[in-house]
Symmetry: C2
Subunit: 408 residues, 2 copies
Amino acid sequence: MALIVQKYGGTSVGNPEKIKAVAERVLGYSRQGHEMVVVLSAMSGETDRLITLANSVQDQPDTREMDVLLSTGEQVTISLFAMAVKTAGYDAISFLGDQIKIRTSSMHTKARIQSVDTDKVKGHLAQGRIVVVAGFQGVDENGDITTLGRGGSDTTAVALAAALKADQCEIFTDVDGVYTTDPNICTSARKIERISYDEMLELASLGAKVLDIRSVGLAKRYKVPLHVRSTFVETEGTWVVEEDKAMESMLVSGVTYNKNEARLTISRVPDKPGIASRIFMPISDAGIVVDMIIQNTRAGDLTDMTFTVPRTDYKKALEILKKVAADIGAEDISCADDIAKVSIVGVGMRNHSGIASTMFHVLANEGINIMMISTSEIKVSCVIEEKYTELAVRALHEAFALDKKDTQ
Amino acid sequence: MALIVQKYGGTSVGNPEKIKAVAERVLGYSRQGHEMVVVLSAMSGETDRLITLANSVQDQPDTREMDVLLSTGEQVTISLFAMAVKTAGYDAISFLGDQIKIRTSSMHTKARIQSVDTDKVKGHLAQGRIVVVAGFQGVDENGDITTLGRGGSDTTAVALAAALKADQCEIFTDVDGVYTTDPNICTSARKIERISYDEMLELASLGAKVLDIRSVGLAKRYKVPLHVRSTFVETEGTWVVEEDKAMESMLVSGVTYNKNEARLTISRVPDKPGIASRIFMPISDAGIVVDMIIQNTRAGDLTDMTFTVPRTDYKKALEILKKVAADIGAEDISCADDIAKVSIVGVGMRNHSGIASTMFHVLANEGINIMMISTSEIKVSCVIEEKYTELAVRALHEAFALDKKDTQ
């Protein structure tokens, strides 16, 4: 008998029939004697509907009121879900974020969970009820409703699992797990059975959109075993757990890519102390998040600075850079938005040399030019021309034999 | 400078454009220096949409969860309204029932307000904000969301006005006031300028559906001046206020009718103590509300009992009555669902004799037979054949000169 927290996303509870189906699935666990806490998202499409309403009233909706508005989405789902459980003859009770004191920061629309009061949840579990919790929302110290941003329901589930010391936290979604790479571009992509928190963090941030990255960090901190799986099939998905020896023996766990960035280069910058700050301060002041930064020193006290930004911020960043270039006496600006970042991730890299050079060799063999390189302890990323993305992913997936090996 | 509570119904805030229009209207009062508290209903159609969702999951939706579901309707409206005020360059803040501690009983879907904490509202008013409150909802002592039943937003507004000691409470709806009778059947119906709480209570319960009756009772208890008016025109509506001399000089304030009842008669009942109880206990046990009851004594210790029930409960009541008739030895049952109740209401009746007999005379003159009569201090009701309803209403309206006189 275990205490299990399960989270079902918007597509899993997209209409009354799906809600009833999910209720049946949860009851399967209850009948086995497990204590069940269910975290739900808004029905798919509902959040977008509410955002459209808000935008039709205020161009840049007030964030406090936006949270009052958006939090209704999950409120609808939890009440319907509790009704569905009761229809099946079992007992359930729904709770909003503020009713079980999911206390957050006051940063509306992107609040962070600070604490969760588990007394009420435990009390109702002890009375044999399925406890249904609204994901995505909390309450700040003023009693104002807050929301956690897109993907926030994953974080709610992990935070609850951590606070309740649950045996596991299962994230049900419309994919059946985390794959070695995108199956849409590489047919030999294979579902990963077990992966470490750190690897998942790198994969999530690189675009494998099965899990909200904040929830993985939280799961790591509180050692919550995470299980990412499909609502629509019964098979096991991917377990995200603490690193173990088997994982370390693997060189690479996955290959990811990101086509949402653009590259900017400012050339022949006089290489003086403080120059990087003069370039990046105005960009960061404009709210633009810079990903990779590479600096090459030239002869004659000149330097080149290349960096990537989200493609949506590309034009704004370019305007800022032009102004900065004039100010600091840089000679040239070049840029491109037809780039992609391809990455390999694996905790095994820590103990194996030559992984990065294998990657460069594989790309060179395919005639793919590398524009930028960035490495971390468990990741190597290369920026290449966008048109080569699929070719690069397939070549790397094959070269590291991800289709064949078991990750354990 | 006054403190004004205004309530806008669902048709007044039925879409973003209407919400913006209402915000403009409220701002008109703010600009004049008034402190404004705005109570809002769900956008028209939203509550029905939510009920449909609930019914598709549970045949008889759990009432606690139903309240969690239904309360989202007002939550959406208040956030959008606060955004609309901000778009116009003014400040506003929205509050849910539980955020300003609208404490209610735990009777889900038909809870009653017990207390309201006004500290938060007063604080934000003092800072120059328009305070926007979700109507229809509250919170019980367990922290569970409750709702007040259809029309509950009117009650929220009056309760807030009472707690805040507001100068007035304005109920904005899609009609421009209370009329001397239904304008759809009597073209000479006239808008009443001032009416007493007691008269309004009689008119509301008799079917003039402009105001929730509980809110009128509450307004009377706390002496809150109520102003019922239209969202869509600027003219004054009807003031519901304490009785005054001018009102007492009027014989009749309004004529109403009710076509939603049915009549049942049980004849030749042995007239013994306890017989009424034996007839009405099983009917009340079945949850059927009896309106009028009339007992006539016959010769020979026999009595006839006639009463009315809501037409929707007619068949159920008839079944019960048949069983009772057999038990108590009654000789006959007759019944009809093609009846109507026509009433005249006016505080002036207290001091004027002959009002009832004028009514009987008017009906007789039109050849209308009276089946039942019931009187109160400020009301006379007659049950007649349904097909004569409009004729009776017009004749009474004319006989008491309601089209001509000013009610003041």
